[in-house]
Amino acid sequence: MIVQATHTVLFYLIAALALVMALSVVFSRKLLRAAIALMGVLALTAGLYILLGAEFLAGVQVLVYVGGIVVLIVFAIMLTRSSDLLEDQPTLPRALLGAFVGLVFLVMSSAVFFSSPFQADTSGAQVTDDTVAIGRSLLDYGPKGYVLPFEIISLLLLAAAIGGIVIARKIPAPSQPFTSGGDLPGEADFTQPRSQREEA
């Protein structure tokens, strides 16, 4: 009983903290501070997963979100030297639009949750804390398994990595000859566009 009560209190505490953090991501004027707040939101969500009994997800959340994505964002902030930049206050129409859309979404979705059959059947509901079940369903090629999306998402990561590398590479200097390979100087045949080759 006490354990349950502690769980409940912890849940609401973590939820409230996560909301405060999310608010500061949305309203902070400093990029780096917002990034730290974002890390807070994501880490607190991981805490929620532990409370919900999904320890494995909590670990993945910390590893990928906090350890990966936030670090990437911080890198981007550093690379663009914008950590000291003070974001301008948004214009009034923009702020009103954002507040309006956010509020409409919030009111609609909360109304939905409290008036829909989600409420029924919560008794005994429990996150399967069985990591084995997740692993099995990721690699099972029967009707209960998800091996196909598992393979597709590996293609997605590969494609995103290739695309990201190509577009993030330096642009060849204007004096450098045309090369379809990107940055490497081309061989003789490709040093000039066709018009000049024809004239030559």
């Binding site: 409370l51 979100y65 890198f75 507040a99 997740i134 998402i153 990201g164 577009i167």
Partner: protein, 102 residues
């Protein structure tokens, strides 16, 4: 866990999603926009885990892992593009991009 009604987790997800959505519309700095998108994806993942818990299935958690990976891929490509944008415009203000008008 039964002590935390599932719809409360869903409402938390909805509030986080709404905050991210509002921030995406309000912000002009592209890094802020990407961070707001991350909050939205995180909220959607939370909703999936909560929904999976309601049905006591592993499917919600499998989907959570997919969402996580997709968010990572998206932010990787987004940040690569952002660096290119910064290189050209020397700013991260989305409104600075006025190259195309019709």
């Amino acid at each position: 866990m039964a002590s935390v009604p599932m719809e409360h987790a869903l409402v938390l997800a909805a509030v986080l999603f709404a905050l991210g959505l509002a921030g995406l519309l309000v912000r002009r700095n592209i890094i802020f926009m990407l961070m707001c998108l991350e909050i939205m994806f995180n909220a959607a993942g939370l909703a999936f885990v909560a929904a999976g818990a309601r049905w006591a299935q592993a499917d919600g958690q499998v989907m959570f892992m997919m969402i996580l990976t997709v968010a990572a891929a998206e932010v990787a490509v987004g940040l690569a593009l952002l660096l290119g944008f910064y290189h050209h415009f020397k700013t991260l203000d989305a409104d600075a991009a006025e190259g195309m008008r019709g």
